[in-house]
């Protein structure tokens, strides 16, 4: 995913001039971003984008505003997240992997994963989660299974899933089985791919 792809996907929004003007504005006047960021969903819309799949119009527009900043991407992303409503927080999380930053924004992932808002948990497990330490990542994946978030939202799931995660999933499956409750099919499939968790691998231990 690149900003250019998102820009192309947003050509069809109801008011493309607003977005163009907002992007020009943040490039020269970064202090304008909090209000523009808050307004973006009202001006551009909130529906799903046909392409790229999994993105909504407001997430894409807000991501572009963040990528369009001339500097201070990490600090601004953090401020917008801390001061944002749930949709703004989600957009910041979606934007993180597209920003020229290192691991500075990992605390935002921790915050999102702590919430009980499944949309935030899901958005925290995109490509930027490569900066998330392995124990926190495993618990976040387990939380997805626990709260019914499809595992398709987890970036690099098979590359990163390890024996320890398999053991945690197997324990959850045992609890569910004892309670007469089903495991989500995608979690059962992952467990099958990983084996039964009795042979912890260390390939991606962090």
């Amino acid at each position: 995913m690149t900003p250019d792809q998102l820009r192309a996907a947003l050509r069809g929004v109801p008011d493309p001039q607003w977005l163009d003007a907002a992007l020009r504005r943040v490039a020269t006047d970064p202090a304008a971003i909090p209000r523009l960021f808050a307004l973006a969903a009202r001006r551009c819309g909130r529906g799903p984008l046909p392409d790229p799949p999994g993105w909504t119009v407001d997430e894409a527009a807000r991501t572009l505003l963040l990528t369009g900043l001339p500097a201070d991407h990490a600090a601004t992303a953090e401020a917008l997240y801390r001061h944002g409503d749930a949709a703004e927080k989600r957009a910041v999380l979606r934007a993180l992997p597209l920003l020229p930053i290192g691991a500075e924004c990992v605390p935002l992932l921790h915050d999102a994963i702590r919430t009980n808002d499944t949309r935030l948990v899901a958005a925290a497990l995109g490509p930027y989660a490569r900066h998330l330490e392995q124990p926190a990542w495993r618990h976040a994946v387990l939380k997805c299974v626990f709260t019914g978030v499809p595992l398709a939202v987890v970036d690099d799931l098979d590359g990163r899933a390890d024996g320890e995660l398999a053991a945690m999933l197997a324990a959850l499956a045992a609890e569910r089985h004892a309670a007469g409750r089903a495991m989500p099919a995608d979690a059962t499939a992952l467990l099958d791919r990983l084996g039964d968790g009795s042979h912890p691998t260390t390939a991606r231990e962090a």
């Binding site: 109801p14 008011d15 607003w18 909090p34 209000r35 523009l36 808050a38 307004l39 969903a41 009202r42 001006r43 819309g45 909130r46 001061h83 409503d85 749930a86 949709a87 927080k89 919430t115 009980n116 808002d117 949309r119």
Partner: protein, 283 residues
């Protein structure tokens, strides 16, 4: 019966309430920021409260198919505490948010000078942010409180059609009916207003600009009294359309003036008022 509760404090209610409300036809609510029972002592605790009104509570409501919006303000009671007054400086940030459809609850509790200042200042914020205002009227000394409220509203320059004066009764309704303000009635199990009394008021004053809410909160209250009022209206000979106007179209029209009501994809609420379109209001 589709119901929009224009004033309910869901933060203080349980998921059982959401389930019962959804089953009774409540599809949308507005939760005004107000006093939480326990006085607050710092600004940061308001930040967390406001954040939950635009974060966690809409998510919780959504799980039961209920659309949640909020109004944000420093309430009259706590406007009297100097430790809370800096909350006024935080408000502009929240008044830009999608889920915030009015400034409120503002108005009077004990009619002090501090309340005068907070009320006038927040009406000015409503004008500056192109938002309607939800105005609480005091429980004590009510008639004089409503008179003074209307004077402050007139002085502020806000369009009366963008003001909802709430918690009215048989005495105070007369004062507001002659203005262009909207009229709110909180139906409570015992005090304030009951469904049969509300039906009488609708007979006398008609259904135009009349809003019915449960104002359910942490006190003795009942989130299903909106539905009970709709049923009492039908029993008294009002039509389904009258009920729909009072319990759905009027609140949609009032809060729709914010340009921020989002009632798209709501099951059972298809025929929405044109003003709910999300694309209104610029910078």
């Amino acid at each position: 019966m589709r119901i929009f509760d224009p004033h309910i404090h869901m933060t203080s209610r349980t998921t059982d309430d959401y389930e019962r409300m959804a089953a009774a036809g409540v599809r949308a609510v507005v939760e005004p920021a107000f006093w939480l029972g326990q006085p607050r002592t710092s600004v940061d605790t308001f930040v967390d409260y406001f954040d939950s009104l635009i974060g966690w509570e809409p998510f919780r409501a959504g799980q039961f198919g209920v659309r949640h919006h909020a109004t944000v303000a420093l309430n009259p009671k706590e406007a009297n505490d100097p430790r809370c007054r800096p909350v006024l400086d935080l408000l502009p940030r929240y008044l830009d948010k999608d889920g915030v459809v009015a400034v409120g609850e503002i108005g009077y509790d004990s009619m002090t000078p501090a309340e005068d200042a907070a009320f006038a200042g927040q009406l000015a914020l409503a004008v500056a942010h192109d938002l309607p205002a939800l105005v609480h009227t005091p429980h004590r000394d009510k008639a004089r409180g409503v008179e003074r409220t209307l004077a402050v509203v007139a002085e502020s320059g806000i369009d009366h059609g963008r003001v909802l004066v709430d918690h009215l009764n048989e005495v105070t309704v007369k004062l507001v009916r002659d203005t262009r303000c909207w009229l709110g009635f909180s139906i409570y199990p015992e005090t304030k207003m009951s469904p049969p009394r509300m039906v009488e008021l609708l007979r006398t004053y008609g259904t135009e600009r009349m809003l019915v809410n449960s104002a359910a909160d942490w006190g003795r209250s009942d989130p299903l009294l909106t539905r009970a009022t709709g049923e009492a209206m039908l029993l008294a000979g009002f039509t389904e359309d009258d009920v729909d106007r009072v319990l759905w179209r009027n609140p949609v029209e009032f809060y729709g003036q914010s340009g921020r009501l989002d009632l798209t994809d709501l099951e059972g609420a298809a025929a929405t008022f044109a003003g709910n379109s999300i694309l209104r209001g610029g910078e």
